[in-house]
Amino acid sequence: MTQASPTTLDPITLEIISNGLRSVADEAFVALMRSAYSTNIKERRDHSTAIMDPAGRLVVQAEMSLPIHLASMTGLMASLLKKFGNDIKQGDIFVANDPHVAGGTHLPDVNMAMPIFDDGRLVAFMCNIAHHADIGGMAPGSMAGGMSEIYQEGLRIPVVKLFREGVLQDDLFELMLLNVRVPEERRGDYFAQIAACRLGERRLHELFETHGAVAIGGAFGEIIERTSERLRSAIAELPNGVYRFEDVMDDDGLGAVDIPIKVEITVKGDAIRFDFTGSAKQVKGNINLTRNATEAAVAYSLKALLDPDVPNNQGVLDVPEIVIPKGTLLDANFPAPVAARANTSQRIIDVVIGALAQACPDEAVAAANGANTTAVFSGTDPRTGRNYVYLETLGGGFGGRATHDGKDGVQVHITNTSNLPVESIETEYPLRVDAYSFVEDSGGPGRHRGGLGLKRVIRPVGHDCIFSGAGERFSHKPWGLFGGGEGGMGQFHHQGADGTLTKLANKPNDIQVAEGEAVIVETPGAGGYGPADERAEEDLARDRTSGKFSDDYLKANYRRDAAE
């Protein structure tokens, strides 16, 4: 072994520098959370922070960053460098959100980027992204369905300078604030993003002092390259071949149904290629994706299947070659609406995992609930006379796995947001939660069964309310793997005062719920893994004694007489 040459960093120094960079990204993340105004950032932590290199490559992302934000940051940087190439000055801060011209994924996610200089030389960018609770448009929250153009979804911001050499561009900022609801809260959140950029700048300068900006710059490339190598070595362990899979989205809420997503994955040596040709044309409803969001879903799938602990940086994005025809659901043309991209991201992940299951059967999971089931209750609180909007997203079943059952009632893949306690809901809103439980029999049978969906029963108290929702896998069951059976679908029901149940649409809008009536939300379960007749006796016994499955179901799905 030869002595490491002075120009390359040894693995010890690199680990120490990389540890320092992770601290910078994490501290910026916490600073943004601490100084934000809105609950969405402070409590649900719907934000991310990162350090990018001068070429716009993602070097380090804060540990708690969200998978969907990964590609949005690189998308912003690509647009920024293209537009401002040699007009990037110390003290500038760039802002952007538009999916069609500025690399975003949907309008509420607003990106910021601040160039960091050392001795007049551009060394890095401090970037962050935050989901704003409202960005204008037709409906409060800027996430509602039923719209067919991005103009209706909110304010579009191309890449522009919010600060020029340290000076806030007041006229621009006023314009941004005038176009949103609750502008004071937005102002606070924007300043939290600005503070996070500036904190990152100070911390990076401290690191430059300790290690030298040249060494840090060198570390960037090395970190990215090592991550790529690490992921490539995992791909090299997959058998060469062409793997295909196809699935459908239920509907777009505006008439299109059974919308296909199709992938052909080619593994050759340490290279991997994803071809989404054959997927649906873009749709009228808001479930479209721009290219960056599709890339983020692919990156998530690769990381989750092959190496969950691989650092989240450009090195991951560099590895796959991704082919997506323009004008499709997965790379929609302007002016397609995109607000509800998360449901489609979930389905891309299902499709990628479904295809690669043949290549890595031990890591693959059967289809999970494949959704981001959303329920929105709104009305006028009879106690205060004020309007309220209560929005929740519910988890469901997780797919069966090679070594164990799928988890019951949990957020899956691209999302991991928490529920609101029943004791908070009933205290803050004029609503009553009558039940919160698993959906019996909704986990697909298998050697390792799929997880169960969730059920919530909610009713208005002392007033009539309005219900809207968005469900996926409400028309198509989550599939099983390697002989495992399908899981149950989700559904929305209206329950009348006399107990009669009326099934609602998959994406219902403006449903009246009177006092004494209720809404029953049931989310999808998940598919099973492996043939049902290989299920271990003790697992089957647990299915029975736990009461998660009925005797009829067990009899119908498992060959042995389960009721014994």
Binding site: E15, S233, K407, V410, S418, S424, T427
Partner: protein, 685 residues
Amino acid sequence: MPWLIGIDVGGTFTDFYALNTADGDVRLFKRPSTPANPAEAIVLGLRDMMDATGIAPADVARLSHGTTVATNALIQRRGGKVALITTEGFRDLIEIGRQTRPHMFSLQIDSPAPLVEREHRFEIAERVLADGSVETPLEDNAIEAAVGEALGAGAEAVAVSFLFAYANPVHEAEVGAALRRATNAVPVSLSSEVQPEFREFERTSTTVLNAYLQPVMDRYLGYLESEIANLLPGLNVGIYQSSGGLMSLETARAFPVRSALSGPAAGVVGAIHTARQSGRPNIITFDLGGTSADVALIRNYDAGVSFDREVAGFPVRLPMVDIHTVGAGGGSIAWFDRDGLLKVGPISAGADPGPACYGQGGDQPTVTDANLILGRLSPGGLVGGDMPLDTELARGAFAPIAERLGFSVEHTAHGALGILVANIVRAIRTVSVEKGHDPRDYALTAFGGAGALHAGEVARSLGVTEIIVPFAPGILCAQGLIVSDLKEDFVHSARIALDGQFAAEIAPAFADLTARADEWFEAQGIDPDARALTVALDMRYIGQNFELPVVLGHGNGSGRPTLPSPDDLRERFFATHTQHYGFHNPDDAVEVVNLRLTATGALRHAAAAPKPATAGPPKPSAHRSVFFDPNAAVETPIYDRAVLSAGTEIVGPAIIEQLDATTLVHPGDTARVEDALNILITVAA
């Protein structure tokens, strides 16, 4: 009866710290732990210590005990069989939790399964609303049915948790009474007694954990109590709790979950005691053991309290000393990750086989091996110890890594320690910088077996200029036990807006908490002038879903704390909000969600510091080559701490060895032995 005895049970050793409050005399004692029944080592050790030191049974005033029995029972899943009785429609709530998964990218890792099987969760028709009113009354025959089912299922403990029981505990109380009528043999945990606060999942989880631990702790404490009664009749015994105070044996048996995170808390209390002796109110505690490092930030001799912690993957919402833990310790293994970067920890060689240099069959390179290679640890092992360390085995373990890096073994070992330090620095930044505190304003208090070996490098990386090394860093937890007070936390959970009605609405709750605290003081036999009450309010902006603790003044002795006016409270909330988040919004409405009262019964503590050892100028006991720099060793004097008297100053490079720890003094740094025999190291600029 001048002697106080602290007993801290660790995985390997059970430590005894005895203090004579009359003359400040200190006796330290250690014996191997007996994991199968930890009480054995306690009883045997107590007997041996009293024999060896001549402490007469009649001279022992109190025994304070820190136990990991609850923690270990959780980690090893050795608790009792639990049944849960809960509100109709909600038996799955304990399993759904917050519907999140513990690892964003792993398809395989789940949150742990609940400690109560689904078929042992029994629903009962009843419903209390947010305001405490009863919507669905509890019927007697329903109680009877649920009690019959729970006991019929063979439960060894029963947890009862109903929605909104914190607002109105009447239904839980009725079911609890019915269970106790039915049998004395099965302990009962009511959520309204274990943790009467809103957020049903966290409250139910804490209650189920408590029930799960009851059978185990009942057996353990029962045995301990009877054995100690034989040895030291009539002795007062205190059990350590996670909030950093002692509780009675009776309380510990009713609420075992309170001891589940108590281990590191005692060390923090010991470090605060040391900080007082040094007159340094602001410290960062740094406890480095075999597998993990615990760090905490102390302001004005006060440890922060956290309410949201996990034990063995389960949320526990109880007051706990705010400690951040990372997997970095003497046993941490150096390894190459898949991207070729060198990592240290969190995998640990543990106690068995332990680091390679122990010669017990370990062949992985660890932090302890690196310290030995660099001359920082003595090949003779710890002072007075009988376990020499094998440098050749340590070098052999590091050789493959060194070869892959193309570095010398010393350079590699030095690099591994650099990575360990970077991990610890990151943890300290989490408790300081990320919470708005500049570590440069704090002294670093280094303890645990290995804290003082690495404190110099940790301090330099953070810009910290002072390091305190306590008198007995390896058994600071046992010392912390005897300087702790009796403590009990009371909480009333209710949303009360800061408006015109505030004073009238909060008064009954406050009176109720104060009355309960008085009852507790009486029951514990605490003198009126030793009583103290601290009031804290969890407050938030209306509409937000996270609250901040606003700590109000203390009321000492017979003086009673009073609640400030709503305007004053609002100002205090704004100040707290600004401290935590950097801003506040003066126009938004504010509310209180929890009212907390902490009762402290001061116990008799050390009057005097440990006596200084024999005086005299410091003479090194030996010299050896030590690598401070990766490429060059320097001849370094070694001192025996036992002979260093107060006032001694040593300029580094130097190594100070003692029974339970090794202190590294870097070149140019100055170590001074303080009056209380703690060492204060001033880091060279």
